[in-house]
Symmetry: C2
Subunit: 147 residues, 2 copies
DNA sequence: TACAAAGTATATAGATTTAGTAGACTTTTA
DNA sequence: TAAAAGTCTACTAAATCTATATACTTTGTA
């Protein structure tokens, strides 16, 4: 499962993606729109800013905005920045690799092999899906929901 | 990430799959072969037994064995029995569904849509892969490792 | 029949992680 | 100069996970 941190981060980027090019949006506005605890969101946005995904502006009229086009920010990046590993086993994780301490031979582990396949499938989707895609899908879903 | 419980469960089933049809194997043997804390493994095997995957035999010469052919036990079942959800978001989980409390409209949530796709891809692999497949893969990996 | 082997059951402890809160500080704009 | 808004660090509460402890039951065999 993704952590709340990761979920909130994606949600925030989607909101900011929708106003890309316009004036920055305040934390409190994002927080209230998306029902995210404000203080928690502060930390998350700060991380995303330090990672170079967002810019911030202090003072009255300040807020956060995307540095890059939402079409160039991929969901997989957000997972990694917020500490959510893509892999289901530490031994098949590219960015959070750790030896399974119970495993005697990683190279010949059948379990590992299966979860490597799972990771690759997941990675393919998440590294091909941008924030812009998420927004686009939302639009399609809304269309299909209207009668 | 999968919990240790889930990982240990899969490992144990693989070991038992290899001796399917033979006499049952003792917890302590499985534990030492797979480097799993014995008392922890006891609980896990008990769960798998109560779920109908394993039979047990008490007393001298006792132990655990698979009830069904390893080709009929799928990895996805093990995840579910041991509490490891397949989905990365609670709102796309079939067996551990929960509303995302920050989400205002599930039906039109683009994030959900993406992770639904991820879940489907993962589910496909894990529900098509049996314990027998895991054992088979291990064999192939060993072949490829030998020079 | 007694004893040892092996599973059963429940409780609990310790560690780790996650989620969220608090508070004081800095920068910017009107 | 006051209010708006982000920055930074620390802390706490709760949940979960991992593992251990203890006492008990069943079964095979010497």
């Amino acid at each position: 499962m993704l952590s709340k941190k990761t979920r909130y981060a994606i949600k925030a980027l989607v909101v900011l993606g929708k106003i890309f090019g316009e004036a920055p949006m305040q934390i409190s506005k994002i927080a209230s729109e998306e029902h995210i605890p404000k203080k928690f969101l502060e930390q998350i946005l700060l991380d995303l800013r330090n990672a170079g995904l967002l810019y911030s502006k202090k003072g009255a009229g300040g807020g956060y905005g995307l540095v890059k086009d939402p079409a160039e920010i991929f969901v997989v990046q957000v997972l990694r920045l917020t500490g959510g590993p893509v892999a289901l086993l530490p031994c098949v994780s590219l960015n959070f690799y750790q030896k399974c301490d119970e495993c005697s031979n990683e190279a010949t582990c059948g379990v590992r092999d299966v979860f490597l396949e799972v990771r690759n499938a997941t990675l393919k989707i998440l590294s091909e899906t941008s924030i812009a895609d998420v927004i686009r899908r939302e639009g399609l879903l809304i269309q299909n929901t209207e009668v």
